[in-house]
Symmetry: C2
Subunit: 187 residues, 2 copies
Amino acid sequence: MSHFLQTHIREIISISDDELEMIQNLFDKKKFRKRQFLIQENQPVNEIYLIEKGIVKSSTIDSTGKEHILQFGAPHWWISDFAAFFKQEISSLAVDCIEDSEVYAISYENLNALCLQLPAMEHFFRIKSNFGYVALQQRILSLMSKTAKERYEDFVKQYPGFMDHLPKQLIASYLGVSRETLSRLYS
Amino acid sequence: MSHFLQTHIREIISISDDELEMIQNLFDKKKFRKRQFLIQENQPVNEIYLIEKGIVKSSTIDSTGKEHILQFGAPHWWISDFAAFFKQEISSLAVDCIEDSEVYAISYENLNALCLQLPAMEHFFRIKSNFGYVALQQRILSLMSKTAKERYEDFVKQYPGFMDHLPKQLIASYLGVSRETLSRLYS
């Protein structure tokens, strides 16, 4: 049984080893190389991903060709184009790897079947969704009301240890500042 | 039994009349006048609110005294300081009424008891949370990658019929543009 999956799920709910075995069978383990895409834009999205190793990002390219990063994902984070997944629409985001990564993927059908069969997992995903919601709320408030310097400080707090792994250009794209502004905040 | 609550819940899940009665008993019906606060900043937050009538907003005031609006809520929308509620911390947002409003309030304890007792309600709140997450995701992408004009068009789509009810200053605070910029987009 996956030690990683076990730790991740038991952090929130109590379940038996048999239930955990059943849950694990509904996930697919997948490996991706640096720069490989988990999701490309304008495609159907049928999976969400729990990251076991590596760093992944979700982003969009605007009409001028500029990349805007919605989320970084590290081990124990979930990532996908959630809007496309939950609404079963085509993606507006791309999800790709900043480093070689390993993920647990679960399909829309398996997620719903699992929640129906195991109320504890419905609870697990409700709690995860609530905390995801809260993280996005902080990000909106940050984008609306904070200076570039404050946003940078929030970032360092939210993604501890990320600074050494991420190219500066990607951090700038996440914060919505230019590469030059970021360099000033840094030093 | 409340016709409103019944419609709202049965849009997502199937439940019996007895279950609905039980659910309703866990909610408090509350009335607020225009400008009254459901939540003030820096207070414990122990309730989330389902709006039956009126219009409510959640917002924050930055260090320069400027208001930034995170969310507007109309009938069938849920509103609170969700970050403070789910983490059981003090509020960073204020939630107040733009018009006289009536809401169904449920406490943190009652919400958790209800989800434990009725798995269908755990499902209901997971789905609500997922769609709330998706709405925030769109808003972040909108703030990061769209022009003021595109953000205004998104707003009109997301809040149909709101334009006639909201003071222009509030719409500007939601979009993150000046009152003058909004006037230009308008005409």
